[in-house]
Symmetry: C2
């Protein structure tokens, strides 16, 4: 990709502005995040060495998780900022050339994320395996796998800041630039006279590339680590099988990377095709990768000689299929080829209010298929792993094995991430290429080509979000089981060797999940559990509300800044003087940094406080409540936002009056409302759900030792 030229001097200049802005943002963000990491690591160290309620490896694992997540985002953004001008330049030759550059750059990022993720997990496994000592090999594996989850927590924490901060940045710049540029000054999008336009393009990079990279790095690692931890506990009694169960998700993931590369090459082979054919060929790449992964899963688990290998292989395939169904339902509800989005466009005929009502209505209805699909995937991957012993599904050994099936279904769903992320990450590159083309006054045909590339990116981005949300639900369930393992370790730390459950004395190492449920009364009639569920549900809404408001406030500041530049710097609108792009980048950066703190800290603190007050059962309630409500809310926000975006595009294509009509204006309102829905609040919820689980796991020792109730 780097061999391609960046084009005219003007194009190079603009690309360098964006690159500098993006780097400046990341530098600022990482500064803040580093402080948070230092504080949390010191806290973990305190818990480990002074209170003795935690593993001493935790602080180190936590920091590296954060570091690699940040690195994944950094590399993705670096690639994207170098690729955009090159894509624009290539698009000036042909649509096809543009697509190839953008897609290849996306592939660099996709493969970086998955490659880094798997590498980090393997290295940590080797380190911990070398240093940790325990009473038995099986116990050692439990400690290694649960400790590695702290690595996941580091990645989640960093991802949350990246998603929330990046999401606020990008939407504040986008909304701010649109409000003052398009609406007030009447200049087109990406016009170089708009001082916020560079900030807007920087936003695409820091939000949609760096944010998404960190997000999916976290999802990918999270599902593998949670499944490994479940494998360690499900096969506890058989150390040899235990190791196999830990390696299985890593091997499937590794195979997924290789097969994704093959898929990416398959996409590449199609030359000289039109856009529709390319979309088809892109889909073909993903489908072939999926099919190959399905087949190779059977081979891997057969060679591993994993117990119940046929059933567990089917669990992986159930995850894969569930991902595809969710992706397709997302497409149905957000693409303007289908009636739900067309209806939203049409409702613009009676004004913006009906556009919003229709979008919210359709968005809410669109949650049904993904939720029922995940519900079916949970039950089926569970039952498949225990070979459909329906009548005994609540038996202790079956519960562990079935949960392992759920975890590995998440790994299956994400195994195609290498290629799906490639198709996903190229969207913002195309978007930026369009911005560059516009600002460099390239031939309008170039802009038209990049717009076409962008539209394709919107579809793949929506599908990608479906995968991220779906895998979150499955991974979160797996993490809940790991939480119980960590509670077990915490009890041992506190010097307990046995517990008593309704008269039976049970050795700590032999406690099963149903025993735990009974010991801590983690049932639906325990008021602590119910209160936890309520708090978890409210957390999702509160978190969303805070991020929505943050975008509104930051956008407001941007609007004021731009207005002042129009007034103070003479000749901007006539194109005689250059606006101060850097100031706008700075405003958005500062706004995002300030606004991201409260929601992010809330996400970290909520499980700690709930644990300290309501104990283990309260925490379990919190996690389930957060998952149940957060999952549905995330689907709703992502789909409503995506649908509004495409409803506007549908009108712009000439329907219901076309561009400039009242119907179009009404749909622009929907699109603006949808921006924070789909790019800030919605995707952040995924991370919130998993981060709350990870925090609970790491803090289990504190909860067990000091909870009030």
């Amino acid at each position: 990709m780097m061999k391609e030229s960046e084009g005219t001097p003007k194009m190079k200049e603009i690309a360098s502005y964006v690159r500098e802005g993006a780097m400046a943002y990341l530098k600022q963000q990482y500064k803040v995040v580093i402080k948070v990491f230092i504080v949390l690591s010191l806290f973990f160290a305190l818990l480990a060495y002074y209170f003795n309620v935690q593993n001493p490896w935790v602080p180190g694992a936590f920091i590296t998780g954060g570091f690699f997540s940040g690195l994944a985002g950094f590399i993705g953004m670096k690639t994207a900022t170098y690729a955009s001008a090159r894509t624009a330049n290539a698009a000036s030759r042909s649509l096809n050339c543009g697509l190839r550059i953008a897609f290849r750059s996306g592939a660099v990022m996709g493969l970086t994320v998955v490659g880094l993720g798997l590498l980090d997990i393997s290295v940590w496994y080797l380190i911990l395996n070398y240093f940790i000592e325990s009473i038995s090999e099986s116990q050692k594996m439990i400690i290694i796998t649960t400790t590695m989850l702290t690595f996941g927590m580091g990645a989640s924490t960093q991802a949350l800041f990246a998603r929330v901060g990046g999401g606020i940045y990008t939407k504040a710049a986008d909304v701010g630039a649109d409000l003052v540029g398009k609406v007030e000054a009447g200049i087109p999008e990406d016009d170089p006279r708009n001082p916020a336009t560079i900030a807007d393009n920087v936003g695409d990079n820091v939000g949609d590339v760096a944010g998404m990279g960190a997000d999916l790095y976290e999802s990918y690692c999270g599902s593998i680590l949670a499944t490994a931890a479940l494998g360690a506990s499900a096969f506890y009694i058989n150390p040899q099988m235990q190791t196999k169960a830990i390696f299985a998700p890593m091997l499937i993931a590794a195979m997924g990377i290789i097969l994704s590369i093959i898929g990416i090459f398959l996409v590449r082979t199609k030359e000289g095709a039109n856009l529709k054919q390319l979309l088809f060929s892109l889909g073909k790449g993903v489908n072939i990768s999926s099919a190959l992964i399905a087949i190779s899963t059977f081979v891997i688990l057969y060679i591993l000689e994993l117990e119940n290998w046929i059933g567990i292989s089917f669990s992986v395939i159930i995850g894969l299929i569930a991902g595809i169904i969710i992706g397709q339902s997302t497409e149905y509800y957000t693409s303007h080829s289908y009636s739900p989005t067309k209806k939203i466009s049409e409702s613009g005929k009676t004004g913006p209010a009906t556009v919003i009502i229709a979008g919210i209505g359709q968005g809410m209805i669109s949650t049904a298929i993904p939720v029922f699909t995940i519900a079916a995937a949970i039950i089926l991957s569970f039952l498949s792993a225990i070979q459909f012993q329906i009548t005994d599904m609540t038996q202790a050994s079956n519960i562990s094995l079935g949960l392992y099936g759920i975890g590995i279904a998440a790994v299956g769903m994400l195994s195609t991430l290498g290629i799906t992320l490639a198709t996903d990450a190229y969207g913002p590159i195309a978007d930026n290429a369009g911005g560059n083309a516009q600002m460099s006054n390239l031939d309008p045909i170039v802009r038209h080509r990049t717009d076409t590339l962008d539209a394709l990116g919107n579809t793949t981005a929506a599908t990608g979000k479906g995968f991220a949300i779906g895998s979150t639900a499955l991974t979160a369930l797996a993490l809940m089981a790991s939480y119980l393992e960590e509670v077990k370790i915490a009890l041992t730390h506190l010097g307990k060797t046995t517990i008593e459950i309704s008269g039976r004395i049970i050795n700590i190492s032999q406690i099963t999940i149903p025993d735990f449920m009974e010991y801590y009364h983690v049932n639906l009639m325990n008021p602590k559990v119910l209160v936890g569920i309520f708090i978890g549900s409210a957390m999702s809404f509160l978190f969303c509300g805070l991020t929505m408001n943050a975008v509104a406030r930051a956008a407001q500041k941007m609007v004021e800044k731009v207005r002042r530049q129009f007034k103070e710097i003479h000749g901007i609108l006539e194109g005689k003087s250059t606006p101060d792009y850097a100031r706008c980048v700075e405003i958005s950066t500062k706004g995002a940094q300030k606004e991201m703190m409260l929601p992010s800290i809330l996400a970290i603190i909520a499980p700690i406080i709930t644990g300290l007050i309501f104990g283990v059962s309260g925490v379990m309630g919190l996690l389930v409540g957060g998952l149940g409500t957060g999952f549905v809310l995330a689907v709703f926000m992502a789909n409503a936002g995506g649908a509004w975006d495409n409803a506007k595009k549908y009108v712009e294509e000439g329907n219901y009056g076309g561009k400039g009509s009242d119907c179009h204006k009404a749909n622009v309102v929907g699109d603006t409302v949808g921006d924070p829905f789909k790019d800030t609040s919605g995707p952040s919820l995924n991370i919130l759900i998993k981060l709350m689980s990870m925090v609970s796991i790491v803090m289990a020792g504190l909860t067990v030792a000091y909870s009030i109730f």
Copy 2:
């Protein structure tokens, strides 16, 4: 009230149009509802006599519950439709006279609802007590109280149709009338030239009066019945105490009615006061009633010699206080005296999109206080009832007693319903009076006075919604415990006398709640429970989405109808010919009837299907998932809708440019979006939550006998 004159012939004519339209709607609605009731009753009869999985009293109790709920709505609406012209006429004399007529009419409705509710419960208790025979007195009480819950299911079913149908009707007419009248034809609200204007006024009656009456009748009865059922199981071993525990909620409710009447008279004593003083005096009436209820609760429970009477009295008071806190937080987040709503108004300066973003953001944040208040109320009323035996709170006997505390807290919260409903029900009367004044061409001062009355009504309506939502959460928990009792009865019906739980053989009659949790694995790591939670969460969103879309579709039909009348009937806009009001009423009626079926039937079928597939644990998951998500979603929708409404009013009072400014137009969009939020989808969720619980209870026999898993 009937002594007051209806005013000029024109006023009488308009009032009679509205009355006829409302009656026509109710007639049509009851026709549909009767069919649903016949089908369901036959189904229940089949289950009782053929499958022997249900009590033979169920069909009868179900029908009477529906009948009295319908009657409560009918009486309320009859009162309201007779009161509106009289209020307008009285308001032409003075603000105070208008308020008195409207408030007295509201009080008629408030007292009718609570009086009817308590009467029906008492009569059914006497009938069942006379006819039902059982092995022991204690067992008999269990059967009586759980059977009476079917009466609650009848009330809920009717209320759901009333709220959904009425909500769709009122908002379709409102949105339709506004879109075509204010926006397209440029005529003011409630102008007699607008063919949809009568339908709009009818809507206030069928949605906000009949719908709300049925809703609160159901809440009121539901909380008393659920608490009585809990009392029967918590004091099972002591038949004498058991009867006392059953009577306690009824006695507190009865005392609440008497003290509400005193409160209403206290409001009445203030003559010649201005509006602000009247609002204060109104609040004083409620506060004095609340304080008196708190005191008399201690007296009642002391005289009853109920076990733990001090602790249980405090549970009642915790419920009362929680209701007040929720009411005040609702006021804070929805009244334009405070910053959240003002900020929404202000965001109109940058257009409708920012109004929507700010409203959704604030609405989501506003869920935190109510949810945390309810969480605190759950824990505290539970602990208070068991005299703060924190370390033993999960013991079997304490769980039952604590749940009784939660149930009776709901009764405490609703004990002031007589007076709060009076303040609530007068809102739509004032609204209609305003419509009547406008259409009859009365002096503008009259319209101004009725507008002032209407504004006061908006605040009390928002507070009333807070009470309804808060009590729903507590009642739903109580209903879950009743569900387990019904499962126990179902097991007996199937011929089981003992069950085995991890080696222990337990007699059915001695099964405790923790035993049940263990027997059915109702814990958070059971995939059936988790799937149930997901389905419950999705149900809330799906139900909301369907009702939102229903409003959009029905409004669209209304718009088309009105447009056609403007075209076909010449001279409407010049005021030369009368529009065909009846056709618009009919369109709205038909639209509402058609659209209410799918969401309502979904609410009834979901727990049945979940039960048949996933059994008892799946149903418990469904109920908890629906409660957790539905509760938060209901608060969000009610508060966001209320805030948008008042944000618009704040601009209309002359802020940020005042009426007609761009900021005002942006806020009108928010208000229109908020209409279905606060008057259709939000309040329907309350009923959905309880109806799903009631259906589960009634269908427990079917679930236990035939579930697949």
